[in-house]
């Protein structure tokens, strides 16, 4: 597996799970969201990572455009037979997931440890 430098992500490996932390506290600017999407998609499509955990502990804010990238990532994961989990989402952002009912689409766990145990 090729290790690549990422501009918006901190990518590490815990066993067979790839843990992804976001480097931007606010996921809002259109250019950044496009780049972020490409970096996440590369993990699945180019690097073939099959178990992905997105850790939101450093994220204070995200727009609905960022949600769109997460939805596309979820589709790509499923198409590649992979599994995606989200963790450590602060309450205000979790409310965005419940309002949009995306908490039904994504497997969202309280923290990284709980998500890792659920794979």
């Amino acid at each position: 597996m090729t290790m690549t430098a990422y501009r918006h992500l901190d990518v590490s490996q815990v066993g067979d799970v790839t843990v992804v932390r976001f480097l931007d506290r606010k996921i809002i600017e259109d250019v950044n969201i496009q780049e972020l999407g490409q970096e996440m998609f590369r993990l699945v499509e180019a690097e073939g990572r099959e178990r992905l955990l997105l850790d939101f502990s450093s994220v204070d804010f995200l727009s609905s455009a960022a949600l769109g990238k997460l939805i596309t990532l979820d589709k790509k994961m499923k198409a590649h037979g992979g599994r995606l989990k989200l963790a450590s989402i602060r309450p205000e952002i979790y409310e965005v997931f419940t309002i949009t009912k995306l908490n039904r689409l994504f497997d969202i766990r309280r923290d990284e440890a709980e998500a890792l145990a659920a794979f």
């Binding site: 609905s64 769109g68 939805i71 309002i99 995306l102 689409l105």
Partner: protein, 142 residues
């Protein structure tokens, strides 16, 4: 902008280029006012999200990313309420005809959640004129 009798502590009346970065600078100024007035983090988050979605809608959908067009941004703040009005030059739309993004058939669509989030996080949201003028109102939580 309605309610001229209110004692606003901060006001902003600007016509800006069709550029989200410029709009977000005005939004940051607005959020600074709410922080100074010690609004709760949840209220500030909600105003941030709703106004950002409205700005992006105006620039991208209303003005179709046309750099020659403009967006009118008006905001009023007082200790208990914030009012924002955003107007684009686009053809407008009928908000009552938007599909429900939470329906099972649309849950996997990447877009279409902006208006839902505006309505959820603000106290009142209204589309006026031909749908190109959105008024967002937030009452401070107790």
């Amino acid at each position: 902008m309605p309610t001229p009798d209110q004692d606003w502590t901060w006001q902003c009346d600007r016509v800006i280029a069709n550029d989200a970065a410029i709009g977000r600078r005005l939004l940051d100024d607005l959020l600074c006012q709410l922080k100074t007035l010690q609004w709760s983090p949840r209220d500030i988050f909600g105003v941030h999200l709703a106004v950002d979605e409205a700005l992006v809608n105006a620039i991208r959908h209303g003005n179709a990313d046309d750099a020659t067009k403009h967006v009118q941004f008006t905001a009023r703040v007082c200790p208990t309420k914030v009012l924002v009005e955003i107007v684009d030059e686009g053809p407008g739309f009928n908000p009552d005809r938007l599909p429900d993004p939470t329906s099972p058939g649309r849950l996997g669509c990447p877009g279409g959640r902006g208006v839902l989030l505006m309505r959820a996080f603000m106290s009142h949201v209204e589309f006026r004129d031909r749908g190109n003028r959105v008024v967002l109102e937030k009452e401070r939580s107790l």
